[in-house]
Every structure is written in C-alpha cells, then in structure tokens.
Amino acid sequence: MSSGRQDRSAGSGTRLTPAFRPQQVRKEPPCQAGCPNCGDIRGWIGTVAQRSRTGLSREDAFAQAWRMITDVNPFPSVLGRVCPHPCEAHCNRGELDEPLAINAMERFLGDWAIENRLPLPALEPEAGGEWIGVVGAGPSGLSFAYQMARRGYRVTVYEGREQAGGMLRFGVPDYRLPPEILDAEVQRILNLGVELHLNTQVGQDVTLAELRERHTSLYLGLGAQLGRGLGLPGEEGPSVWTGVDYLERANQGRPAETGARVLVVGGGNTAVDAARTARRTGATVTLMYRRTREEMPAIAEEVEDALEEGIELMLLATPVSVERDDDGRLRGVEACRMELGEPDASGRRRPVAMPGSEFRLAVDTLITAVSQSPALKGFEALDRDGSWLVSGDGGWVADGISAGGDLLGLGIAGNAIVQGRRAAESVHERLRGGGRLAAADAPLPTIGPDRIIFDHKPGSAAVKTPKRDGEQRVCAGMSEVAGTITESQFLQEVERCYSCGSCMGCEQCAMYCTSSCFTRLEEVGPGMYFSLALDECKECGKCIEVCPCGFLDVS
C-alpha cells in the first residue's frame, strides 16, 4: 500500500485543484495609517475590547491601553479634545455604518488616567551623565522632554512665558481645552524629573550658544507664535488683532475689547477659535473666508459648532482695505467677492477677485487669522527656508541641535508631538545607541474594508460626544463645550472595532479547521491567539475566508 502511494505521488503532475493555504499576516489598519503619531490605535482598543479573552481586569485593561497611547503621546486627554482625528477619516468601519469614535475614546482613557493619577512609566530608572536642553514647553518640546526623561536623561526645559503648554495653552481656547486638563498632563511629564525654567527667553535671558555649551544636546520646540497680518491699507492701528494675539490674551483671562461687531478673516482653526471666543464676549461675529466651506482647513466639526453658536459664515469674500476715521478708529472693512479659478500648487482652486463686487462691512474689530510663523529672534545662526527652520532626518538642524513642531512648518498638535518623539529617538540613538522603542519600524501591508467581514458584528452608530447646544455654549462662556463619554459608552465603542489586520481571537479559524492546524497559544493578547502549523492542511481556505479581521492571507 505505502509503496503504491509513493508511485502515485511520483506520477502526479501539475495541480488540478487550487491550494488555499493560510498564513498569518499582520497589516496596518487605516486608523494607524492616518495617525501622524503612528499610534497603535488598534492595539489599545483591542486591549480593552479583548480583555475577557486575555484575562485582564477592566482596570488593568484601561491602564495598559493608556500606557500604549502614552508610549507615543503623553497628552491623551489633550489630544482627545483638540485633535482633528485623521485616524477616524478612513476607519474601515465607515463602510458599514460610522467610523469608530477613536478621539472620544482617547479622551475617555486620558481623563480616566488623570482621575486615577496614573504616572507615566519611566523606562530607565537612573539618570545618566547627559544633560538635555529643550527650548519651548509646547507640545513638541514636552513630547521630546518626556521621551528623553523616561529613557533616563536629565532634561531641562526653557520656556519664555510664565506657563508651560505653548499653543495648547495660549492658542486653544479654554472651552475646547480646560487648563486643568493641560496642567495635569504637563505635570505628569514634570513628575519624571524634567526641570522647567519659566520666563526664560532665548536671546534675552540666555543665548543659544550658552545653552548649546551647557547641554549635551539641545532641542528647539518654539512653535510659530507670530500671527501674520493681511498687509492691507489701514491695517496698522488699534482694533486689529492677529488671531494668535487675540487668543493669547483671551486665554490669559484678559480678552481684548472688541466692541459689538467683529470680523474674523481666515479659514483655519485659529480663525474659528478666535471667532468663537469673540462670540463668547457677546459680540456679533462674522467669519470671512476666501474659498468655500469645502476648502476650509479648520476641523469641520468646529465650523459646525461655530455656526450653531450664531457665527455668520461669509464665504468667497476677502477684505481689500481697512477703513478708519480721522482719529484712526476702525470704522469698517472694504471687501470683495471671490470665485474659484484653476487649482493652485496645493490642489485647491485658487480664489480670484470678482471685479466690481466690492462691498463695505461696518465692524468694530478685525481679527486676521490667515497664517503664523515662528519667532526666530536669537536663532539667526540656523538655516532657514523663508520663515521656517530647515531640518534633516530626526529633526537635526545643527550639530547637537534638533528641532520639531510648528517652527518647521505649521501642523496639528499631533504632528508636533510626533516630531518631538522622533527627535528624541534620534538623540537617544546618537548618545546611547539605543534603538527605537515605539513600534511600526517595518512597513506593514495596509488593509481596506474589502477584507473585513462586516456581518461579524451587529451594525451600530458611533458614540457621540455629549455637547450642549449652541446658545447654551455661548452663555457658558469659556467653560468646556463637550463632555467625556461614559465608561459604558467607552466599553460599547471598543466592541465596534474589527481589529483590521490583526487577530482578535474570534476562534473561527480554529473552530472550522478540521485538520487542527491552529493551536491556541498559552499566552494570548491582541494579535496573537493561535499558532499555525500546516502539515495537515487540506488547503480549502475556509479559515482565510471566515477570518473577520483579514489577518489570514493565502500564502
């Protein structure tokens, strides 16, 4: 019998039937592909969603998930409030009903950790001999400081203002980010032993050369604090503010006197923040933008909120001159209508003025929030491209000096945080030869909605962040407009995740394999539940086709 079989196998030619042999392939889900910070979003959601499969208590799962976030981002409570969450934009679940409310979940975990006083874990308990200097206590500088301090470096941060937080404190209004939340997350970084020198301006209180001399390595996270004007005739003078300056004063509790009618010019978040802040002083506010709502760079939800709060949106219009009376007092703004022409370098259609469409608006205050640039006084020794500092890989701008955040180019807070982390990893590598600690080194194949079996879970709408209605929000002044989801909402929301491209332990492959190719691992966790041995595989491919998360591929 056995010899007969060998004869047959020798005689068998090409295959007549297809072979569907499985292999386990971890893939990059769209949430992580969309996050500039490369956070292991699927991982921390899975840690909570799969806690009963892995035997974690709810508290342990929350803490572990929070530590996974803080591995790359020490500000989950802050970003859970201010991030425009590009992670949600391409969530595969959007094909079924709604993307996961990742941002709201991050905020929940961040608040939970603050409430439970979770400390940021240090990776190296003892500090070495190096002394690292950081200029600027904004998101990028603090992210850098955190990543260095937890690796066992002595870190000192120099901040020109009287408080840490940078744009998060002075640029983001309190109704979006209450100062006590920012304080709590900043304090946790300082608790790792980071020294903070406030009211220390480089170029005034200390020079760049001195700092470079003092520290083993220096990081610049200055941000872009200078609001740009429009350059209109009559713009110079009272009652005209840049968005940055206006918000800074408001955030310091001494808002500028605006009068009854305020015109804000711009379409980004600073413009919307300034408009909403002005509205809270009781003014009538018009937000003027030269393109359409489609092209507005501000977070769409913030624009929606602004409209709900009674702000008038004036699209396809731009100011051409500022009108003042003989005493120099602002009387109004002359503006004209625009139309969209050919696409420009950014791909957006260029607005073109319509001749003869000029009109006049009576206003008491003009706030211009069209762009910002870094204040680089005292840093003349470094290379620049126009307003911006120029850096190489790892944020290096000179020997022993690296940089990150808005002074390299404007971006969201998440971007500033990732640049701080990347720079820290680079410095760590140079000083101690330490490898990167954060995941996502090798690029993984991406996974789209076509590989997800949506009927594995019931359809359900995403959790909605609780929010007061527009009128109430305006009356409530600078108190926070949105709430944090509840624990039960959070636990429901994690269940909506399909764990795209990573095993979630549904056990179907093992259940339906009649050849016992799948063996449950002793130690399980998100992404690892079964080992795979193909000796007995019958190549039917059922395991691959029942896998709801697209973890199994045809090999």
Partner: protein, 465 residues
C-alpha cells in the same frame, strides 16, 4: 399586612415557576439554544416553534452561527455534494416548507454510471423519484452573480420567520451549572439555557469541546471526503454533463465512489473514500474514464475542500436538556444528510415540546428515529462493502453494466438493477428497501442470467449505452 401577603403570593409563584422549570419540561419563557444554523439547526428551531405555537407555548429560541450564507466560497458553505431527492422536497412541501426554484435546481433526470467496462445511463424511475441539486451556502468562489439562493440560508429564514433569533456568535464550550447547560462564547461571556440543541455538524471542532462532558458525548467516527467545484460555464456544463449526475465506480484503491454533479455554471466533483488525499484526487481526475467524460484539466477548479462526514452513530446523542440533531448525532451513511437532519430535528423538537427535555423523554421519543437510521446504515454499510467487491471483479461490473443497459433499453421491463443503483446513489430510499429489492427472485434470476451472458468473451470491451 396587605403588602406582606402580596409578597408571599409573589414568592409562592416564583418558587412554583422555579419548580416548573426544574421538572425538565419547557414552559412559557423557556430559553432554547440551537448551536449551528445549518439545516438540522434550522429544522429544529422551525419545528420547535411551530409545535410550541400550536399549544400556545412561548419559547425564546436562539440559533447560534457566526457564518453568513450570503457569501460565496468556503466562508458561507456547508460542504456537501448538494443533492436532495425529490421525495424529500415533497415531504418538506407537505410540512409547509416550499423550496423555491432559486434554491433547488430540479431537472436532473438521469444518473450515468461510469465503470471501466462501460458507461450506462439510468433514467429516473417512474418519473417521480427525480433528484434536485442545490448549494447549501451561496455557491463556490467566483460565483458572485449566480442565480441561486442558499438552501441553508432559506431554511434559516423559515426559522426566523417563526420567531427564532439568529446570533452571529461562536460558541467555544458548554458546561453544566445549577442543573442547566451554559454556553460559553469566544469572548468568554456565558449564557444559560433550558435546552441546548447541538446541530454543529462534524466539520467544526465544537464536538471535541463537548467531549469533556459525560462519556456518551463522544464525537462520531468520521471520514474525509473531497469536494471540488469546476467552473465550466452554463453551456460548458450542459455540453459535458447534460442533465445527469455522473457516478464513477472505478477500480482505484481507497476510492469508495465519486460523482460529478451539474449545477448551473459549475460542476461539483464529490469523492468518498478511505484516507483521501491529493494523490487520490489526482488519480481519479486523471483516470481515462473520468477524462473521457469530464476534461477536468480544461476547466478551472475554483473551490475545493475535504469535509468530514459522519460514519458512525453516537451511542446516545441526548441527555437531560441536551440533544444532538443532524450530522453531529445520527445521520445516513454517505447520502441524504439533509433528510436525516429533517427527521432527527423534527423528532427532537416534538419530544422537547410535548414530552419534555429529560434524557428519558429523548430516549423514548427521539432515539427511535435515530435508531432507525442507524440500523439502516448498518445494512447500507454491507451494501457498500459489496460495491467494493464489485470494484475488485471486472466480470461483476460487466454484469451490472449489461443488466442495467438492457433494462434501460426496454422501458417495459421491471428495472431491478436500475432502481437499485438509482436508490443506492440518490438516497431516495432507505438502504433496507434497496436490500429487499436485491433479494427479489426476479433480481437474482436476472443477475444470474446476465452473469452467464456477460462472461461471454465477445462482450469484453468497453461499451457506452
């Protein structure tokens, strides 16, 4: 005072209710879990609810199956050849289950039996025992826009129309606590039921997980089959196979038998044998007789699998509050698994509704239906053993061929051999009946005559009728 007496009454009621559910019968609000949403599970849920509604008993019935029959390929497939006999279709119609034409593709009019000594076509006897082909799931891979609907999906729909709830959850274990079965799910959550009907078939590992339970719950003996789907296009299939199922009795060691079934634009190849592997599959597909009738290398094979089939009845497929229906309990040898699922599921449902859910109730009222099948299988096993003999001796194959061919050529004669072969391969009749037919004097006399004539050297070449 008043309040106190109310409480006492409520307590009395609740303890009464507690007693009632402890006495191993279903009552209003009882919870029934059906593990597996294939035909056996859906039949069970359907009949359970239908019978319960007839006596005004309100049950909560949950069917657990994580798979969806709306998807092509293995994910929504239930692995079988997909042949049902016309008699079963009629029986289901009498039960109020009218299979629509999108689900059942009738019109298979004949069987062609291929042997090395020749091929012979058997027309469906008396025109009423025709057979139908169907897809249990939603068809093979690459069958996206196929015109058929899933048979299993249709039955599940019948059950949900009756009020069953289908839950897409995978069950990973079952345990007893407080005298009740508890199901455990992949996410480690648990749920308690008053009755669990296991209808998980033999192609999942659930039964292994039940093996920790009382000794009677040994998984049945199984053997592997091999099924593959060839995409030949509607015209291609019609040209190659016609409206006939092709059965092969070839002298290939380890191969019990094989069949090719036309289904729309696909042809399903089914093989049953001992220790089936790729080599055996190749040997079959490359056999000259097979190649002569079905050029498997000329059409692409899109789907293949090696499902297990039940080869031996369980000693006792029931216990207090647990009953096993369909393939995971007792089923018919090689054939008509859906018919067996129907009979065992219906027997289990009527027992649960009218007689209770105790081991004793199932023994008295459910087991006889299973035992009848098991006994018939024993006879079937002997008969299939004789086909083994047939495959070994060429002269016997010539007798079969000659006898069948002559019967088919003369429609007026009593078709002893033809109907025996027909029933053997279609599952239209119990093996007991087939065996009785083989004992008929007419059959034996005919067989003897053909044995003598067929041995004549002049007829020793392959002929096609």
């Amino acid at each position: 005072m008043n309040r106190h007496s109310q409480q006492t009454v409520a307590d009395a009621f609740s303890s009464l209710a507690g007693n009632k559910s402890d006495d191993l019968s279903l009552s209003d609000g009882s919870r029934v879990a059906v593990v597996g949403g294939g035909p056996a599970g859906s039949f069970f849920a359907f009949f359970l609810l239908k019978m319960a509604q007839a006596i005004d008993l309100e049950l909560e019935v949950d069917i657990y199956d994580p798979r969806s029959f709306s998807r092509c390929g293995p994910a929504g497939c239930n692995h079988c050849g997909g042949i049902v006999s016309e008699s079963l279709v009629q029986i289901l119609a009498a039960e109020g289950i009218n299979l629509p034409p999108e689900v059942v593709q009738r019109g298979i009019e004949s069987y062609v039996i291929h042997m090395d000594v020749g091929s012979v076509a058997i027309e469906s006897p008396a025109g009423e025992q025709r057979i139908a082909a169907l897809y249990r799931g939603n068809g093979p891979r690459e069958g996206g826009d196929a015109p058929w609907d899933s048979f299993d999906g249709y039955l599940q729909g019948m059950a949900t129309e009756r009020g069953a709830r289908v839950l897409r959850k995978l069950i990973t274990a079952m345990e007893w606590r407080d005298g009740r079965p508890w199901l455990q799910f992949a996410d480690r959550s648990q749920d308690r039921y008053d009755l669990v009907a296991v209808a998980s078939g033999v192609n999942s590992n659930l039964l292994k997980m039940l093996a920790d339970l009382p000794a009677e719950f040994q998984p049945p003996r199984t053997t592997r089959t091999y099924i593959c789907e060839f995409k030949a296009g509607e015209d291609g299939v019609q040209n190659i196979l016609g409206n006939a199922v092709h059965v092969f009795l070839l002298a290939i060691p380890r191969l019990e038998f094989a069949a090719i079934i036309p289904k729309g634009e696909f042809a399903t190849v089914v093989m049953v044998g001992e220790d089936l592997d790729q080599e055996l599959v190749h040997e079959f597909l490359n056999d000259p007789v097979v190649r002569g009738c079905f050029p498997t290398d000329a059409v692409p094979c899109v789907c293949s699998c090696s499902p297990l089939i039940n080869m031996g009845a369980r000693k006792r497929p029931y216990a207090d509050r647990v009953v096993l229906v369909g393939d995971c309990g007792v089923t018919r040898l090689y054939k008509d698994g859906i018919g067996a699922a129907y009979r065992t599921a219906k027997a289990a449902a009527s027992t649960a509704v009218f007689m209770g859910v105790s081991e004793e109730a199932f023994r008295k009222n459910f087991w006889p239906a299973c035992r009848a099948i098991a006994t018939d299988n024993a006879i079937g096993r002997v008969m299939f053993a004789s086909t083994g003999t047939l495959k070994r001796f060429r002269f016997l194959r010539r007798v079969i061929h000659r006898m069948t061919a002559r019967e088919q050529a003369q429609p007026g004669r009593r078709p002893h051999m033809s109907s025996m072969m027909w029933n053997m391969f279609t599952g239209s009749a119990p093996y007991t009946d087939i065996c009785r037919g083989a004992m008929h004097p007419g059959f034996i006399g005919n067989f003897a005559a053909n044995l003598a004539l067929g041995a004549w050297p002049a007829s020793q070449r392959r002929e096609v009728s």
